[in-house]
Assembly symmetry: C2
Homo-oligomer: 167 residues x 2
Amino acid sequence: MSVADKELAKSRFLDFIEGKSLRMTAQRQAIIDTVFATDEHFTAEQLLDWSRVRDKSVSRATVYRTLPLLIESELVSEVDFGKDQKYYDPNYGDHPEHNHIICEDCDKIVEFEDEQLAELEEAISQKLGFSLKTQKLQISATCVDFQKMGACKNKCWALLMQTADSR
Amino acid sequence: MSVADKELAKSRFLDFIEGKSLRMTAQRQAIIDTVFATDEHFTAEQLLDWSRVRDKSVSRATVYRTLPLLIESELVSEVDFGKDQKYYDPNYGDHPEHNHIICEDCDKIVEFEDEQLAELEEAISQKLGFSLKTQKLQISATCVDFQKMGACKNKCWALLMQTADSR
DNA sequence: GTGGGTGCAAAGTGTTTGCAAGTGT
DNA sequence: ACACTTGCAAACACTTTGCACCCAC
């Protein structure tokens, strides 16, 4: 997601806010700046932590109250990796196709789109008597690192970060 | 899932239990009888209710403690429809391909498999440098009822059941 | 000024767990 | 007899909500 795309997304959110005659507050500002500054998937708790770096006054409640707005405005989407918490994906606005491939070992996530896949899904839906609205494909796999070396760069890094946090 | 298949699944679970030197209790019996008596997807709470019809002494704790065994034995799988609770699928043993199409309105679920889809997923994974382990495709759609009549048979029925429950 | 927004803490919801008593093998 | 199981209720983790104060418009 380029810098220009991020700015576009942010201004689209401002339009959305205005359209519903909602207000732009410092806390919402901090939260949306945070959301549109990352390409990564995040949890509500991470979003809280990161937003607090920008504005210490952001509360957990406000994060949880802002997330539905981001989802309603279709700039962020909920994704479910079968972990306990919900994850949020800030790249949705540009790429509604929404497929993920996840490394079982290091949780590395790669997003992808595929025209042929989309067509096939449409065809299957019709055959079963449904009219496709949205779809979600998740592939669980092992990444190249793991196949070659039996371990993932990503995982080492995550462990290191965790250690740093708990200090 | 035929009656014979269900019996097979049940006996496979008994083997699994025995292999781990676990015990067959009246409560587990009631729970697995319930699981292998349905083709439907269910939640932990539904499984509790249904199991209690067979054996009133089944507790919520036992249901939650038995579900992981069913999953570990690969006879049931967890599915995530993005609702708040986890759902469980008793048809997994026979059909590990595991794709679902769900009506947005009535939550009707149809399972399907597709060879072409499986091949395409494999190809995409390779192209991205991953080695596919498992996959999960969920299509959200509207069912024929809804398209034709703006409402679903299924939904009426569910509402009726709910009313009956609360009496 | 007013209606929406906020933080806080309490309440919810679905799931897990510690414990003392019970039971299959 | 022993280790595995159970029900109960308390504990958990994540999310939502009621309330009194606050602030963007």
